[in-house]
Symmetry: C2
Subunit: 276 residues, 2 copies
């Protein structure tokens, strides 16, 4: 199977699982479930669930059996996008080529759709935790990444440092919290469930998150609104930012090799290629 085929195997499984879950929601009022579904089923790369499935697969575990945890990952990611897009935050009118949640349902419903998806993710985690201590620990890893020591802190920093003079330490905080924690989480969770080397898988996830964010910054240079954001290109300059992305990609590939995960090595290479 090619890398692209393997990626799609994981991604399409996630799509089907999320669709099926939404169909089982018995949520009133209708506008609440509709607005949650709108963003959750809006497609996208599903990279966090793909990382989770691929790590479980590499570790020889039944990756399809952990779909609920993957769904929790994607619900948390989607909630964070809905809230980030709000006028008071990044004020983005479009997401994945479609009008953002608040452009369709209004700000109030978008805030509640985000709250609903976050709460739903935790209901999934607490249900999975009944399976035993490894699942409970995996749930705790994700909760930590989602919270005030993870993406909420990252988004707060992003707001704060858009207007002030900020340097490398602020950039690294932003990278670690806004992207790093939610890339680290699926790999640490998988290692925890399948008795892998949690620190090593975690390190791979953190580095891959940084690579993803570096190449994002490189891709976005010159885009609308970029002047207000703290980016690697601003902190390091273009040439140095490209060098950092290359060395980070190399480190990711070496780690994936050590972890016996060729698919994840290919994924790191794929991410690096985005910057070109």
């Amino acid at each position: 199977m090619t890398f692209a085929e393997q990626y799609d195997t994981y991604r399409l499984f996630m799509e089907e699982d999320l669709k099926a879950r939404c169909q089982h929601w018995d949520v009133s009022p209708e506008i609440l479930s509709e607005s949650m579904r709108y963003s959750l089923l809006a497609g996208g790369k599903r990279i966090r669930p793909v990382l989770f499935f691929a790590a479980l697969d590499a570790l020889g575990a039944d990756w399809k059996g952990e779909a609920a945890l993957a769904a929790a990952l994607e619900c948390i990611h989607t909630y964070s996008l809905i809230h980030d897009d709000l006028p008071a935050l990044d004020n983005d009118d479009f997401r994945r080529g479609k009008p953002s949640n608040h452009k369709v349902y209004g700000e109030a419903n978008a805030i509640l759709a985000g709250d609903g998806l976050l709460s739903y993710a935790f209901e999934l985690l607490l249900k999975e935790a009944e399976k035993g201590s490894a699942h409970l620990e995996a749930a705790r890893i994700l909760a930590h990444a989602a919270g005030v020591y993870g993406i909420v802190a990252g988004q707060s920093a992003d707001l704060l440092w858009s207007d002030v003079k900020a340097g490398e330490s602020e950039l690294l905080f932003l990278y670690a919290n806004k992207t790093g924690r939610m890339f680290r989480a699926p790999l640490a969770m998988a290692a925890c469930l399948a008795k892998g080397d949690v620190p090593l898988w975690s390190r791979f996830g953190e580095r891959l998150g940084i690579l993803f964010q570096l190449t994002d910054d490189l891709l976005d240079r010159g885009a609308a609104g970029e002047e207000k954001r703290l980016t690697a290109v601003k902190v390091y300059g273009l040439a140095r930012a490209e060098e950092l992305a290359s060395s980070c990609a190399q480190e990711c590939c070496a780690l994936a090799q050590r972890l016996g995960a060729p698919f994840l090595r290919d994924l790191a290479e794929e991410i690096e290629r985005r910057k070109a």
Copy 2:
């Protein structure tokens, strides 16, 4: 000890516990922890934790030992107030006599403070779940009450039905979800932890939530913004709403008697007296 002294014993214990928790936060950026702390430590009746402690106490359990679950209850309640007060939702400038969170920290920070408190509550729940199956079940009860089958649905309904013709069934949905679930949760959690009669404690909590909401509606009649809200006074008329509150209070007192919880009987009477 008088009822008021007993109430303050529970309430002040919660205050001290929440203060101590906030002091241990190591959250960056500072504005994120500051805005979370601002609302969490703004006082209030702490009625949900008080219900939880009182039920544990009545059941002969070590109520002080369950402070983390009580803190999770209050964090979830506080997050819901912060988001409800936002301009896009209820647009309230004041809360508990102080400027609301977004008036002090701005809308973006208020949204993130709410997200942070909700996530923090779930981190507490998942940590408590390590204690065993009763704690995990208690955590699940709270997660369900907090989510799309609880307060998020209640707030969504509150928005939706402010502008449309709505009747008794909508009012009961609102009561059950906006207030009922989070009054039921602490009592069901306590019963679950202390091996009490979960359905009976749950029923007491649901009825007490309805009593609280009925007396709220009676208290608020003629207040600013009331014309836009769906209330018991609108649906039933004043006299019938007062009758319903009285019979609901009687039912609560009888249930508290059956449960061997005189403090909670006094509390139901205290809530009923608010409407006068």
